[in-house]
């Protein structure tokens, strides 16, 4: 199957980038935090982990709607016109039991160095069920992707 070049860009960002900015909400006020993430190959699900004492964990307990911004700005060598960012919209769900294993495998494949962190009893692993991606590239060209479930 051939993909469009825009979707290829989304997939590339999901695969190559290690960190992303998670947006949660606290009493109606936006709250941003940096997280290490991983993604399924289809782009349907994203994973991240946090300890249960964090602000974001509490925010998610009240309102699980999130955004996740992934971009290539860390690659300083890239010229500005190649700057690209994708924002994922969806809801976060804490992983338990057998699906936890699948999530864990995806997360550790990308972040093996975080094994002790993600397997600690105080850490929660979340799956983001992505509803939409919004890709911005080449300075103002915007494409939306709607995920069917």
């Amino acid at each position: 199957m051939t993909n469009t070049k825009e979707w290829d860009m989304v997939v590339e960002l999901l695969r190559q980038q290690t960190f992303a900015v998670l947006g949660t909400s606290r009493q109606g006020h936006p709250y941003s935090s940096l997280v290490a993430f991983s993604a399924t190959t289809s782009g349907e699900s994203l994973y991240f982990a946090t300890t249960r004492a964090t602000r974001k964990y509490h925010n998610l307990a009240v309102d699980n709607r999130i955004t996740l911004l992934i971009d290539n700005r860390a690659e300083q060598d890239r010229p500005l016109y190649e700057a690209a960012a994708v924002t994922a919209y969806g809801s976060a769900e804490e992983m338990h039991d057998e699906i936890h294993l699948e999530a864990l495998a995806s997360y550790l494949a990308k972040h093996p160095q975080l094994k002790s962190f993600v397997t600690a009893p105080t850490t929660a692993l979340f799956r983001i069920n992505v509803e939409e991606y919004h890709l911005v590239q080449r300075f103002q060209n915007v494409t939306e992707f709607r995920m069917s479930r």
Partner: protein, 718 residues
């Protein structure tokens, strides 16, 4: 010196820092050749300027607006114009300016004037094929003029010609740079170019010469005398002399094309003694460089100066279908454009009009099949002829707009690089005139409900109605337009449709800044400004009108085609079977966009365009529902207040423009028909959105930002 490298015998700088041209001048001085003294502003200064002003980012973004391969020449010119204007309007970084001024004050006081020339690093000798891509400024007086010229020469690294040959030149926004030669101006009485081996015959030496400075020779304004010299003996073997009438001569600031004196007119700028000196220098330079050379030279009295010399190692070989040389040939001088204007106004357009009228006068239904077939082929041949003339004469005339654009931007340095277009506005555009007449007739219908009702019923205009005379007059004045092909409605049908819309909001924009512009000029500049402005105005008008005239000829072919189709469908085929070409099903009036097949996407993902970036072609902001014109019937469905989305606004579609909320075109450029019409009516316009007719769907809610060239799509369900 903070920046400047003196180009003297002790100069050690390499071509990587000062460019090949400057390095060569330093070498020639070391070897004792007579070269005007000068300095080089190395490429590091260019990079410092770009870094500090942020121009490097601007250039990168400009070049990435769209895939380069997808850009048309008009879009490339636009990119170049915007970059050029950005150089001109970017202030000098304070520290840099102070250091550079300190250097420039060291220029010897005995220089009567200064020349500023380009010298690009890494430029190899094959670039001689690209001569004229970069700019030079001559006869500059005062430090401010030099500073100004430096920015112009830097900007010319990104000239449209250079962008066209971007790959061959290795032009890269991250790596390329430009050094500048600042040189004592030598005002020669005779100048020219020496080819130590003639381009067409490598066995002989060739000299081209003109009276005055050689700028007019280089840009093709003046045709030179051409003499061939025997390489071995130095004897002149062949003389080709042209009529001598003009020379480029210095004026107080700059240069001007002037008439020759009577005695100059009667004689060649070359003579045996000058040829001997040139031959001698040519041979010496070949020995020094070990290969054939091209030399720019000038004589003051009998003293020969070398202005530039370059070795010739290889020439660029182009594919026969490479259109870039043709594109470069579109750069015309003012004199050339004035001549072209006369030809277009007096011969070309009247010729198209005559043929179109003659076609319209023939009642095709009275011809037998044989006659119809012959008539069709005759019309087709006429159309092909006019299409060729259009390419050779009409398109080059568009350069008048560019010439004025650059002239205006250099003088005024406006924030908006297209500000100059407001001075070209004209009520004489045929499309505007035609729309005004249509609008008048629609108003008569709208104001007379009984007439509207009657026309809706039987489409027949009563003889006693005031509309009758207007209608007949319109048909005569704008004959040839095949209304039947415009979405299945005839002219009366369109009038009813226009009358059913509310009164139009868009009126032709009126701006009168010409007086302000001209009043602020020095007398000498005003002279040239008036001439360039006159050419640009004609170019603006013709750019639009020639399309309409050509449209009429097209309509003549289309109506014959239609008549043939009609007979073929009715089974009256004898003698007509092979008349039409295979692809004649395509509308000749409507350039249809062949959409590429949809790309497959992961079935779980639905892709929806949200925001598209093109080129800003008509300022303003507007929103409305999209009407994608992908076939002729979509024209009839178009409603007032919708956003026209199309491959390109065809001349015969422009009557819809005043009703549109905004215009979006796949074809790019500021000088295309749709953009000109949009500007005339003050309608926001974005051009050059690749695949626009495919990506946007009729009914999409669109916001169109004509300032930034952005279209936002609000599609609730994909």
């Amino acid at each position: 010196m903070n920046y400047l490298v003196p180009l003297n015998p002790s100069c050690q700088a390499s071509s990587l820092t000062i460019g090949g041209k400057a390095e060569m001048l330093a070498v020639l001085r070391q070897k004792g050749f007579n070269v005007p003294s000068g300095y080089c502003l190395p490429v590091s200064a260019y990079h410092e300027f770009l870094n500090e002003t942020g121009l490097d980012t601007f250039i990168s973004l400009e070049l990435q607006r769209k895939e380069f391969a997808e850009m048309r020449w008009e879009e490339i010119w636009d990119v170049s114009l915007r970059i050029r204007n950005h150089f001109a309007t970017s202030d000098w970084p304070q520290g840099m300016k102070l250091r550079l001024l300190e250097d420039l004050r060291n220029i010897p006081a005995n220089w009567s004037a200064t020349a500023v020339r380009s010298t690009a690093p890494g430029e190899d000798s094959s670039n001689q094929s690209f001569a004229g891509l970069h700019e030079s400024r001559v006869m500059l007086r005062g430090i401010d003029a030099i500073l100004e010229a430096i920015r112009t020469v830097w900007a010319s690294l990104w000239s449209d010609g250079a962008l066209l040959y971007r790959k061959e030149l290795g032009l890269d926004p991250g790596k390329s740079g430009m050094a500048v030669i600042i040189q004592e101006m030598v005002v020669g009485e005779v100048s020219g170019i020496l080819f130590s081996r003639a381009p067409m015959d490598r066995k002989v030496m060739m000299v081209e010469a003109v009276w005055g400075l050689n700028q007019a020779l280089v840009d093709g304004t003046i045709e030179p005398d051409r003499w061939q010299i025997d390489r071995a003996t130095g004897n002149v073997t062949e003389k080709r002399e042209v009529k001598h009438s003009h020379a480029m001569r210095p004026i107080s600031h700059g240069i001007k094309l002037s008439c020759l004196t009577e005695s100059e007119q009667g004689q060649s700028p070359l003579n045996a003694m000058r040829c001997r000196k040139l031959h001698q220098v040519g041979i010496q330079l070949e020995e020094l460089l070990g290969q054939a050379v091209d030399v720019e030279w000038t004589f003051t009295g009998e003293t020969l100066y070398i202005l530039q010399a370059r070795p010739v190692t290889k020439t660029l070989s182009l594919q026969p279908d490479d259109e870039r040389p043709w594109y470069l040939s579109l750069h015309r001088s003012l004199d050339n454009l004035e001549e072209l204007q006369g030809e277009l106004e007096q011969t070309v357009l009247p010729g198209m009009d005559r043929d179109a009228k003659q076609m319209a006068a023939v009642d095709l239904s009275t011809l037998d099949n044989q006659q119809l077939s012959e008539e069709y082929l005759r019309r087709k041949k006429l159309l092909d002829h006019w299409l060729q003339v259009y390419k050779e004469k009409c398109i080059p005339m568009a350069h008048g707009l560019r010439l004025f654009g650059e002239f205006y931007n250099d003088l005024v340095k406006p924030e908006d690089p297209y500000e100059f277009v407001s001075l070209l506005h004209s009520d004489d555009l045929l499309a505007v005139k035609r729309n005004r007449e249509l609008s008048k007739m629609a108003t008569v219908i709208r104001d007379t409900p009984s007439l509207l009702k009657q026309l809706e019923e039987d489409r027949v205009i009563p003889a006693e109605s005031p509309l009758r005379a207007m209608y007949d007059d319109f048909e005569i004045r704008f004959s040839g337009m095949n209304w039947a092909l415009q979405g299945g409605l005839d002219l009366t049908g369109w009038l009813v449709k226009l009358a059913e819309q509310e009164e139009e909001i868009h009126t032709s924009a009126s701006l009168n800044t010409e007086k302000d512009f001209l009043e602020n000029l020095a007398d000498e500049e005003r002279d040239v400004a008036c001439r360039i402005l006159a050419v640009a105005k004609a170019s603006y008008l013709l750019r639009d009108n020639d399309n309409l005239y050509l449209g009429k000829v097209r309509a003549g072919v289309a109506s014959a085609e239609q008549e043939i189709h009609k007979r073929l469908e009715a089974g009256i085929t004898e003698g007509l079977e092979n008349t039409l070409p295979k692809d004649s099903g395509k509308s000749i009036l409507f350039s249809r966009y062949d959409a590429q097949s949809e790309q497959m996407l992961n079935p779980l993902v639905q892709q929806v365009p949200r925001q598209l970036v093109g080129q800003p072609a008509g300022p303003g902001v507007s929103s409305g529902l999209a009407r994608v014109l992908d076939n002729t019937s979509a024209l009839a469905d178009f409603k007032k207040g919708e956003v026209l989305v199309c491959d390109a606004i065809e001349p015969n579609m422009t009557f819809l423009a005043p009703l549109a909320a905004a215009i979006i075109e796949r074809r790019g450029g500021m000088l295309i028909h749709g953009a000109i019409i949009a500007r005339e009516y003050g309608i926001p316009c974005v051009t050059g959105i690749a695949d626009a007719p495919r990506i946007i769907q009729t009914g999409d809610k669109l916001s169109v930002d004509g300032y930034l060239g952005i279209v936002t799509i609000d599609r609730v369900s994909g």
